[in-house]
Symmetry: C2
Subunit: 499 residues, 2 copies
């Protein structure tokens, strides 16, 4: 007989949860990328039913006792970490009643589905009708999680995505950035206006864009035998680690946004595809935290994807896809990818302005969750900050408050993980450059394997064995999120652009 019978029993429960969640993930991906509109009501009902079922399994009364008894069993380190993560999930689920879970799932599905047409139609009034219920559920969730964890309401929401992170900590990392970055951007933009960068001339047919994206994803080491690329309104990386579903969207007048968006998702996809295989199905095998996840997507998009060595490889593929033109020469392509350009859309933003898009959302969603900002005042609050941070006027809600999918799903507390991911990606990147002194030369030769091996060995393979900060320490020997490499990088980049 096993020496860890209760742990084994729990492990079996989480395997079942994982398998059923697999169906939920695929149905969610399908909802975003395939489902015809009349299918949504039935899909929403099906997914709400499953959410309730999973919730019921995670809140089974016997789990409480089992979790305590398993802690007395002779577990190894991996099992102990796994048990810790089981308890974490169990605790979060027990804070919420099943009725709220079902109600929330239905509200989110309905809001997200309608948003797909409301966004292009610039229909804020229509959006609010569904969003009111999403927000009500989200606030109720925040209240219950706050009661249970003792954290503030917003911090309790953020803790779902980034265990241990608080808004005070985010403020410490970004408080300073918020002050000096807007001025810097104004200067750089003025300087750049006098620079010559050649714009690519379209159209860029969708079929060629798709083929190009798939080629680039292949270079980035994504395993197409265990994943796919499809199209959705809002790009994301979903599915399951064994079958990763990335999405993008195409616009025939522009190809760089979709291409770099795909490179971004590939950073997520590779993390998922390289999680510890022996533990798949257990909580300890999931990606550690969303900031670490975003550190991967953002470093793929910004450090790797805009690297001269990478752009040198990219340029002939791009010219091959769309025909040669001056804009697609490596030097110009690199400038297109690295220029600073104040814009309305977060996912299209460059690495310098990106954090301001996040800080805007971070500030607003704290107020939304706390109830200090009324729903009706949200568009104006958004537009005021865009003016303040980036000096641009928001012409319509489609390109303003309606642009992101996150709030339709009540994913409050998620946005800060992008900005933290940005900071972490620079910490990691600086460290990698020190540990792999040949990195620059290797990348210029198109040799990415040493980098990929490093990431797998030092980050991906740990899953959730350690806390987020312990994981960072294992990877780079630092146990805190340090904004200095990020700040230094921005300053250097801006200096380079200004000269």
């Amino acid at each position: 007989m096993s020496a860890t019978p209760t742990y084994d029993d729990l492990s079996g429960t989480w395997t079942r949860l994982h398998r059923l969640s697999h169906l939920q993930s695929i149905a969610g991906w399908d909802q975003a990328s395939n489902m015809p509109p009349k299918g949504n009501e039935a899909r929403a009902a099906a997914m709400a039913e499953m959410a309730a079922l999973l919730h019921r399994m995670r809140t089974e009364p016997k789990l409480k006792d089992q979790l305590s008894r398993a802690e007395q069993e002779p577990l190894d380190d991996g099992q102990r970490a796994n048990l810790r993560e089981m308890r974490r999930q169990w605790r979060a689920s027990n804070a919420l009643p099943e009725s709220l879970v079902t109600r929330q799932q239905m509200a989110n599905s309905r809001c997200e589905h309608a948003w797909r047409t409301q966004r292009p139609a610039n229909d804020w009034a229509g959006f609010v009708e569904n969003f009111r219920e999403v927000l009500a559920c989200g606030r109720e969730e925040a209240r219950l999680l706050s009661e249970q964890t003792g954290l503030s309401k917003y911090d309790a929401m953020m803790d779902r995505f980034e265990p241990g992170m608080t808004s005070a900590h985010v403020d410490r990392v970004f408080g300073d950035v918020r002050q000096w970055l807007p001025g810097l951007i104004r200067d750089v933009t003025a300087k750049q206006a006098r620079d010559a960068v050649i714009e690519p001339v379209g159209p860029f047919p969708t079929a060629q864009q798709r083929a190009l994206c798939e080629k680039v994803i292949g270079i980035l080491g994504f395993d197409f035998q265990a994943g796919r690329l499809d199209v959705s309104t809002h790009p994301f990386c979903g599915g399951v680690p064994e079958d990763v579903r990335m999405t993008t969207r195409f616009n025939e007048n522009e190809f760089l946004i979709s291409l770099m968006g795909t490179v971004h998702e590939t950073g997520h996809g590779r993390y998922e595809q390289n999680l510890p295989r022996d533990w798949l199905g257990q909580p300890v095998a999931e990606a550690r935290s969303m900031a670490l996840h975003e550190s991967q997507s953002l470093s793929f998009e910004m450090q790797l994807g805009s690297h001269r060595g990478f752009v040198d490889r990219l340029a002939p593929l791009v010219a091959g896809a769309f025909g040669d033109q001056p804009a697609l020469a490596p030097h110009n392509l690199h400038r297109l990818l690295t220029r600073v350009k104040r814009g309305l859309i977060r996912v299209d933003a460059d690495e310098v302005t990106y954090s301001l898009h996040i800080i805007l959302r971070f500030e607003l969603e704290q107020q939304l969750v706390d109830g200090t900002l009324a729903l009706e005042d949200l568009p104006e609050a958004w537009n005021a900050r865009m003016r303040d941070f980036l000096g641009i006027e928001v012409p319509d809600d489609a390109r303003g408050v309606l642009q992101d999918v996150h709030w339709t799903r009540a994913a409050y507390g998620y946005f800060p993980t992008y900005a933290l991911g940005n900071v972490i990606s620079l910490q990691i990147w600086r460290h990698v450059e020190r540990e792999l002194p040949d990195l620059e030369a290797q990348m210029e030769r198109g040799e990415f394997a040493p980098l990929y091996d490093w990431l797998r060995e030092r980050l991906y393979r740990h899953g959730r064995k350690f806390t987020p900060l312990e994981t960072l320490e294992r990877a780079i020997g630092e146990d805190r999120i340090d904004p200095q490499p990020y700040i230094g990088y921005l300053r250097a980049k801006v200096a380079e652009l200004r000269h």
Copy 2:
């Protein structure tokens, strides 16, 4: 308080079953049309977990008592029919232990997935390794269902797809056909060999084929707001009534097979899309039986799709898709669609030879289920019958015993429903011609609405309110499957070809 509390409770249980089955259906469609190969083990495990869960819900001990008590409640006709169908599902589930359900789901997923590459590789030996377990599970299922129903093992399997149908009945319908059809086909084929029919010249690009198929499906009244067309190894119609997922496959050297295959699936799709909306989620709202389902797909493919009026509409679309060529003129296209051509592949077969492909499978699978045919002897038994029935040699298993997906899923008893569907489709068609005297003229003008309305009103909208034969009687006033219209049609067709 409701006057039917127990019935309402049961209805709630079946709504939950329907919602969870929705996720299973979409995951199954995805498995066949999207999933990358390395995703299969995890998918199979997820779907087996769900199959076990659904089975557990359908065999909950309290259901027995609830079903009895609900029968005492004051139900209307629809509710009573619904309760009858609940009991039917409950009884079938209770015949099988959960362990068999899980084992079978895993075996089928593995076999089907491997078959996708084993078929093109002509790898019978590899196939048998997985198929042995599929067959073992299927035989065990047949034994248990037989014990419970008192039917023979094969009939118990067939009853899952066609309630009330027996192999003796199938023999009565087809016994005669089996005798005279092979000779007739030999004569016709010899005659046709001297006829001139112009073969279309390819290639036929996949993108154009797909666009053509979508156009034709639209003419056939399929609602693309509530369904899709995708690609899979073996064409099927899946998904849920609110979101119907049809699949086809493309071959750039040939377009008619895929086009007519899509027309076939559209017959299924329209049935699903026109099931009684008010009852969706309850068993009574499902399509009545597989023979009735196949009668719709086969009449779309063969009576409607090969009708001169329809072909006249089709021809310019085809020429528009691939460029004009003599083969695509209406007259020649009609001959291509209606010629009798002995071939190796069932799904490509014309309406005259089709039944022989089915009878072959019907005979072999009865022996497989009974255990009177050893797995090792199956390819030779297949090939011998092809020689006997159609006078052709099977060059390899890829075009022989490995061609169908059904046996990988232990769907024994399904094939006869195709042949019965063929017979029923002619019965219905003859009746429609009498009831809609303008049908011929309408179709030649491209007016299909009167036909579609008739089908919805007389067949689709009943769902499972009545038994299969009662449903047939509601539609055409005949309460039995009568092969005479089918036989008459074949003879007339053959006579026309011969003259």
